[in-house]
């Protein structure tokens, strides 16, 4: 059971070797392959492998064996001296290194010795295609969750279906598609289960994808092939994948379309599409599509010109019920807006009246102060300068104690002399 991908069944606890997603903050998730090497010194860390974040350091040993979703406190890890130590070791002599490792080994024998640091915490989440999509290392433009969810829904990718994907790219769609078609691992070569047949043209991305499939325990569920699908089609050893769903995320989907026909497209059909005739003109045409089922296709293109070209070729090749849609997603941030005259002065607070009543009350207040002031000015024969001085000091003091209300008064007081002159 341990061979089941953590994407499909993460198990109750984090385990060594599994992929975990360390959630630092929203939009900041770090994928980590947990390593159980707490006995050894890794990269200069006596604790074994360590993740360093802005919230502190987290040795892998503190992340393993925890229930998924756990909040993990940072640990005190000597990050500062390790680089120096290595440099020193190089400079001084090789004899001391033996002593060093001994000392290190004694201090790291028990991972529980790791002390927590007050620097912060992370949450450790099981991998899902959604979190993976937001954290994966970009190799190409990524097919995001709103796109792939809708695509998989429309092409009817269900447990047990065979799905062709051309252009693995960064692998976000591959993971989501695998989850959609997964209905168990094939137990033998005859045991046919839902599978993703992924094709990638770029050799580096192909290698990376194959490595990822290995690391994520998706063998048997995803078949990655290095292939130029425009020219070489979708057959594997001249065997048909028997696909029921197709997703083309390639720059020119129309060039791949002739290979996805039930019968070999006639030269006149291809000519009307403006395409070259297929290389394979032999009689034994094998269609990569499943013979006895409806096949759904989706192509993903950023430009309208690509879309019109693709749609035209699709029509010529006999695809039905063609629809073009555009997906627009919006994320909504919920914030509490603090509006009101008596709000404490802090970030995000808006010190304006909350409603009409508050505005009227304040205006009345201002008005009465103004009148009071006016009256006092008229009654007492005070010299202008002292008054200015007085108000200024009062003003400053008030600012120190009650910031926000006095700010408004200050404006009033400064202006009042001018009005009086009128």
């Amino acid at each position: 059971m341990s061979t089941v991908s953590p994407f499909l069944d993460p198990g109750p606890l984090t385990t060594p070797g599994a992929l975990a997603l360390v959630h630092l903050s929203r939009d900041n998730v770090v994928p980590v392959y947990l390593k159980n090497d707490s006995g050894n010194t890794v990269d200069g860390y006596t604790e074994g492998s360590v993740i360093n974040t802005r919230f502190g350091s987290f040795p892998h040993s503190t992340l393993i064996g925890q229930p998924w979703g756990s909040q993990i406190r940072a640990s005190i890890v000597d990050t500062g001296s390790r680089g120096r130590k290595r440099k020193l070791g190089n400079v001084v002599d090789t004899d001391t290194t033996g002593n060093d490792t001994e000392a290190v080994a004694s201090s790291t024998s028990n991972p529980r010795d790791v002390r927590t640091a007050p620097t912060g915490f992370v949450h450790i989440l099981p991998p899902t295609p959604e979190i993976w999509t937001s954290s994966l290392p970009h190799r190409t433009q990524v097919v995001y969750t709103p796109d792939y969810s809708y695509i998989l829904h429309r092409i009817r990718a269900r447990p047990g279906t065979q799905l062709i994907e051309a252009g693995s790219g960064s692998g976000s769609f591959t993971h989501a598609a695998t989850r959609a078609v997964y209905n168990g691992y094939p137990k033998s070569s005859e045991d046919k289960k839902g599978k993703v047949w992924s094709f990638e043209f770029n050799h580096d991305r192909f290698l990376k994808m194959r490595e990822e499939v290995q690391d994520h325990h998706l063998n048997g569920l995803v078949q990655v092939t290095h292939r130029d699908v425009y020219n070489d089609g979708f057959l594997l050893d001249n065997q048909s994948p028997g696909a029921e769903c197709i997703f083309l995320d390639v720059p020119a989907p129309w060039q791949a379309l002739p290979h996805l026909s039930r019968r070999i497209p006639t030269p006149s059909q291809l000519a009307s599409c403006g395409l070259e005739p297929l290389n394979d003109t032999s009689d034994n045409w094998v269609s990569p599509l499943r013979a006895d089922q409806t096949v759904h296709i989706c192509t993903f293109s950023p430009c309208i010109e690509q879309v019109t070209k693709t749609v035209e070729v699709m029509r010529r090749l006999g695809w039905m019920e063609i629809e073009m849609v555009e997906v627009a997603q919006r994320r909504i941030n919920v914030l509490r807006e603090k509006v009101g005259l008596n709000m404490p002065l802090e970030r995000g607070a808006n010190q304006s009246p909350r409603n009409v009543m508050e505005a009227v009350t304040r205006l009345k207040q201002i008005d009465s102060r103004f009148k009071e002031n006016h009256k006092s000015r008229l009654d007492t024969d005070v010299n202008m300068e002292t008054l200015m001085l007085k108000t200024a000091t009062r003003n400053r003091m008030a600012l120190l104690t009650m910031r926000q209300r006095i700010l408004i008064q200050a404006i009033h007081l400064h202006q009042s002399p001018g009005w009086l002159d009128d």
């Binding site: 198990g11 979703g69 756990s70 409806t294 039905m320 997906v327």
Partner: protein
């Protein structure tokens, strides 16, 4: 489901040896479409002189696209495009289509009169009277094409129309009079489309396709693994009662501790639509016959339960299909016809279930890949499942349906106060075997029924209250805060949560409960009543004025929406369609269930780095909270 040229959809069950009426378009015998692939476009042919029914003709794609191709040639007259290849497919039954071309004149590029300003009142310019049209319709031949041709010929202002309006006019008339239709499978996207467009969208809370897809993805709903008990057995065909007896199940659960079976909690006020959509994602929506045909929707919809519906004032279908048994035999023939490599992978074939001996301790529920549905009324309302051959009121009438084993329903009362449920709180009906044998058949069956019911109820309530669910999916009219309060403690750590709401207000309120300041306040000063309480007591915090729910149990609360816009893609006429439906926008709340560390958690930031400290000071001054750097 039928798709008519007018764009309307009708849901009906196709039963052999009957006739389907298409209303004004005519009718045809069902046997002509049974065992044919879906999505083909048929055309009603004229009755042959010595026959009493209309034959059908499959319309090849090249003919359906003829207009588009020909208009393409007028705009870009390239030599390749001038010769579309309609003869490549279906040449044997293709009818000559040149009538249309000679009328429209578009293939020769002879469409004249390009004036946009001329006000064209189509109705005033039509010289054919209603009577004449009716007469043409009656004896109309050639699937209404002749009628359309006549209509266009007798339109006096046809030469004043622009190319675009001509195309529109023809489309309009074609939709009205051409006798074409296609048969589509009633799968989730189509059911959704039909309910939104033709039925009552409020019934499914205006849930659009993209929302259903998004909710399913964010809740990580997928095939949740085989039943651990079943998987443990080497033989493919095992007797379900042995595998599922509860005591065995418990033993097996101990052995497979590296795996968590997928169990999803679904709160559904959409009449079962959400449950059906999630079941589709988990591969348990279609009966096992469908499973044998590799879960594709090729044939099983002909076994749609007795339901005929008409949309937008169309005539109700002539058939209230009562021949479920007949269509069943139809399907089994179909399976035999198709060589199928994966027959027998599902242990629960109908035969074994039917042969199941009476054994009282059988729990007829799977332990993995299950949906638990909590309903607000005494009985669950999951009526949409009827379209997929599952009767939720009497699930054991359809024992072969995967949902019978994989769908459990309980009420909120049973979840929160099970002691008030009469079945749960009563003692188990028990009797000695000798005693049972002495009873009359009547009484015996009552006893067994009661005992089974008790066991079922007990199993559902106990397993649900135990928690450990792998995900929560909600589309409910109830306040999401109250749902979260009850459901979050039942989720396993790291379990995703996805809540759909047609309006955003309930979700903003919910998101506010998990907002950054609130989480920070919770971390720095726990409510007094929880001081010194255990983690589980904190999880089941009933809420107070400041904290409606325990905010530390949830991570990454966010709200999103997604909307698709359809485009028309025609040569030279590509633009967004302006006919999108209105209705509620729909929003989704997503989050993960997490397990807070016990005790106080400090988060001062990394004090080693001077830069980080600075940032930290600013933040703690601003908010006076300890948790700030992390929860932002």
């Amino acid at each position: 489901m039928h798709s008519l040229p007018s764009g309307n959809l009708r849901v009906l069950q196709v039963t052999p040896n009957t006739t389907i009426s298409l209303g004004k378009y005519g009718s045809f015998p069902t046997n002509l479409i049974i065992e044919r692939p879906y999505h083909l476009t048929y055309e009603l042919l004229d009755k042959r002189p010595n026959e009493t029914f209309n034959r059908l003709r499959v319309v090849p794609p090249a003919e359906l696209y003829a207009d588009i191709f020909s208009s393409d040639t007028t705009t870009t007259p390239t030599p390749e495009d001038a010769t579309p290849a309609p003869d490549a497919e279906g040449a044997d039954n293709a009818l000559p289509t040149d009538i249309e071309y000679s009328l429209v004149d578009s293939d020769s590029g002879a469409v004249v009169a390009i004036t946009d300003r001329a006000e064209i009142a189509a109705s005033a310019r039509q010289t054919l009277t209603l009577k004449e049209i009716e007469a043409l319709k009656k004896d109309g031949i050639d699937a209404g094409r002749e009628l359309i041709a006549k209509l266009m010929l007798s339109h006096t202002a046809i030469d004043q129309k622009t190319e675009y309006s001509l195309a529109k006019y023809k489309l309009l008339k074609t939709r009205k009079y051409i006798r074409r239709f296609s048969i589509l499978p009633l799968d989730i996207p189509l059911l959704n489309h039909w309910t939104l467009e033709d039925k009552d969208p409020s019934k499914i809370l205006d849930m659009r396709e993209e929302m259903v897809a998004l909710v399913g993805c964010w809740a990580n709903v997928h095939f949740g693994g085989e039943d651990p008990c079943e998987a443990a057995q080497p033989a493919v065909k095992i007797k379900p009662e042995e595998a599922e007896a509860m005591e065995i199940g418990e033993e097996a659960a101990e052995t497979v501790d590296t795996s968590v079976p997928g169990r999803w909690l679904v709160i559904d006020d959409t009449g079962g639509f959400l449950v059906a959509a999630m079941a589709d994602r988990m591969g348990i929506l279609y009966p096992p016959e469908a499973d044998h045909t590799n879960t594709e929707d090729q044939q099983q919809h002909e076994a749609k339960p007795n339901h005929a519906d008409s949309s937008s004032g169309n005539q109700p279908s002539s058939k209230e299909g009562e021949g479920a048994a007949e269509s069943r035999t139809e399907k089994s023939e179909d399976i035999e016809r198709k060589p199928e490599p994966e027959q027998g992978t599902k242990p629960s074939s109908p035969q074994t279930t039917r042969k199941r001996p009476r054994r009282e301790d059988t729990i007829p529920y799977a332990h993995a890949n299950t949906i638990t549905h909590i309903h607000a009324n005494a009985q669950p309302n999951l009526s949409f499942l009827r379209y997929y051959g599952f009767d939720v009121i009497n699930p054991f009438h359809t024992p072969s349906h995967p949902l019978a084993k994989h769908l459990m329903a309980l009420s909120w009362l049973q979840l929160l106060e099970p002691e008030l449920d009469p079945t749960y709180s009563s003692a188990v009906p028990n009797a000695m075997p000798e005693e049972i044998y002495s009873w009359k058949t009547n009484r015996r069956s009552t006893f067994h029924r009661k005992r089974k019911r008790w066991l079922r109820t007990r199993h559902i309530i106990d397993t649900t209250r135990e928690g450990g669910f792998t995900g929560l999916v909600v589309a409910s009219t109830m306040d999401p805060i109250s749902i979260m309060r009850a459901c979050v403690p039942l989720l396993a750590g790291g379990a995703p949560i996805a809540i759909y709401s047609p309006t955003i207000e309930p979700l903003t309120e919910l998101a506010d409960c998990y907002s950054l300041p609130r989480r920070a306040a919770w971390a720095s000063n726990l409510p007094e009543e929880l001081l010194g309480k255990s983690a589980s007591e904190q999880e089941n915090f009933p809420g107070n004025e400041d904290f409606p729910v325990n905010p530390s149990l949830i991570l990454g609360a966010s709200i999103q929406t997604s909307r698709i816009r359809k485009w028309q893609v025609l040569p030279g006429r590509t633009h967004p369609l302006m006919t999108g439906r209105g209705g509620a926008e729909g929003y989704i709340f997503t989050a993960w269930r997490v397990r807070p560390a016990e005790g106080k958690v400090e988060a001062r930031g990394n004090i080693r780095s001077r830069k980080a400290r600075k940032v930290d000071v600013v933040e703690s001054e601003g908010q006076g909270q300890s948790e700030i750097p992390n929860t932002k």
